[in-house]
Symmetry: C2
């Protein structure tokens, strides 16, 4: 079985390692020979926008998957299954279409307006009180988003972020917590939706609009966790994602769960599943896209916490790990990136422990001690 | 940091995966382009007995390690650290020298005779009642060994197994159980022995002289486990092994612990540490040979069991994993070998569970269900 991965970043790398363990032959199409997939033998370096590169590469694969919703899945030659499907990717790439699809299926999400004009954006501010303006395409980790409380804020956001078809303006949710639920789902067969497994709810904390830490158990009331899991599974089914997808949610005061956004691929909040779950998100992604039975997503440890290792400067990398490795119970995962940049995701640390507090303390201590 | 691994089998493969996760650049010298290290980019295919191959390969590495005590560590150019050290490997390769070294350090082991002649072997049988005759070099997994209860048995063993310097004849130990203890140890610094960590005792069960299953916790009385750990650490120190080493022991009636033999490398009984320990044997091997702080060897799950996936026929491999993957809580690890042979180690399954019994049941069910 040959699995093709479009993308040479850390998600492709960790997917490839999981696939190799199952005896799957992995081929990667990546823009560069260095970087996270460099330790792998079958990396084709080339421009995936070039059909003469993408076509022959894909045709040597039994199944192609992507590490980013922006990979050109729609240009893979017909006859090679692409998972998640092109329709799911297209719906998810555009935040307006993503919201519309979820609304069609009655899924809970923040009130929002697809503002085609500056006037509609200003009207949304008046209606909602405070809003988050989002670029329809290409926004992530705080890029392409702006929280607006005044008309001047909205005017500036319109100038910065609007595209030909406008801007997504969402009601600001005064959430109590952010959480994420990862789902793995097999392909639809004979019109029946694919079998799926749902990971435990992960609680997440962001700093500077970037994921700082994520941990499980999430510690919400059982009814809230059940609702988050229900919403996540229904969201993945509504979008017909195959493979793993993570649904990021707001938990509002009173316990309501609202979908923030969907990533149709392995996700940072679920990196802790490598060390903490019976079957990691990466292995279940491989199993799902190959239409193999899914593994148990449950935790095999009492608690786990993942903390990102972010770049803090510009330059070449020379890892100094001694202090990080000296923290008991912490697993250091570096991504093999040769160049560091401020805020670049260079790796992560997962700690497992008897309690979330202990896991978080260890993970933060070890992540802080990594020198790059 | 560039780590060279002499050997392209499953131990090299799993060591390489652990090293990559720590951002270490791995180079492998292997006899073949296919096989377990094939998914890795930096594999040099060549004859390691050829100095013109081994020399330049080793000189591109910061540290060289081996996946087998038979790798030509002694031919690596001076100036490149080889770990474990050449002296340790030389002492361990020859079962007579291995026993002699342990005896010098007062370590408990079966009574034995270095029989230089057929008559000495027969005298040992008379003295011990039942014996195990072992070829000095190259015996493993039941090859090169013979349990002898009669003179005719010893005569046959002498004919089959003796070398120029004779044969090792050991008293047969009517053991209650077999166990293994893995130790990771850093290099000696300024004449002081390297820091070491000792893994939990693993209980093992062999079938047809081959490892069938291994599990932890081992379930011996605490005093027996403490003695096994003490003996393992003292053995590794006596032999001055750097890296991981596994000490296989007999637990005799009454709880005495006797050293059976020593493997100066990652070991099959400790494969469960990938899924069950805070730090796997492979990661601690990498850390030890690079002289980095060692990780916590403790279990992060209540119980775990590993069962080997052995070949059952001759031919090409086409893995059928569906039934195995459907067993919850079982992690399947295949080694990417393209040819199957009867009894060849093709992979392993580790299950983690609340109890050893549940872990073993899951691991056996999943291993049995793998089709190759």
């Amino acid at each position: 079985m040959v699995l093709g991965i479009l993308g040479g970043g850390q998600l492709g790398r960790m997917t490839a390692f999981a696939a190799a363990r199952l005896g799957v032959d992995v081929r990667v199409l990546a823009p560069s020979a260095s970087g996270p997939t460099a330790p792998l033998a079958h990396v084709t370096v080339g421009d995936w926008e070039d059909a003469s590169v993408l076509g022959p590469w894909a045709e040597a694969c039994d199944v192609v998957t992507v590490e980013s919703e922006w990979a050109p899945a729609d240009r893979v030659p017909a006859g090679v299954p692409v998972r998640p499907g092109v329709e799911a990717l297209v719906a998810i790439r555009h935040k307006g279409r993503q919201r519309a699809r979820l609304a069609e299926h009655g899924l809970p999400q923040p009130a929002h307006v697809w503002a085609a004009t500056r006037g509609e954006a200003l009207a949304a501010l008046e209606r909602f009180g405070a809003v988050v303006c989002k670029r329809f395409e290409g926004s992530y980790d705080g890029y392409g988003n702006a929280t607006c409380r005044t008309e001047a804020d909205v005017q500036a956001a319109w100038d910065d972020l609007s595209a030909e078809d406008g801007l997504l303006v969402e009601a600001f949710v005064p959430f109590e917590a952010e959480a994420a639920v990862t789902v793995a789902r097999r392909p639809t067969v004979d019109g029946r939706g694919g079998a799926a497994v749902v990971y435990p709810v992960v609680r997440s904390e962001h700093r500077d609009h970037r994921l700082w830490a994520a941990w499980a158990p999430a510690g919400f009331p059982e009814s809230v966790e059940a609702e988050a899991r229900r919403v996540a599974l229904a969201t993945v089914e509504a979008l017909d994602v195959v493979g793993v997808a993570t649904v990021e949610v707001f938990v509002a005061e009173g316990g309501a769960v609202l979908v923030n956004e969907v990533a149709p691929r392995p996700h940072n909040t679920a990196h802790l599943t490598i060390d903490a779950s019976h079957t990691s998100q990466f292995e279940n992604h491989v199993r799902a896209v190959l239409d193999w039975p899914l593994g148990d997503p449950g935790l095999r440890v009492p608690a786990a916490c993942v903390v990102n290792v972010l770049g803090e400067r510009e330059g070449g990398v020379a890892p100094g790990l001694s202090d990080a490795l000296a923290v008991d119970g912490a697993s250091v995962h570096l991504y093999g990136k040769t160049e560091v940049r401020p805020a670049r995701k260079m790796g992560h640390v997962t700690a497992t422990a008897p309690t979330v507090e202990a896991a978080r303390e260890r993970a933060e201590a070890a992540a802080e001690a990594v020198r790059l």
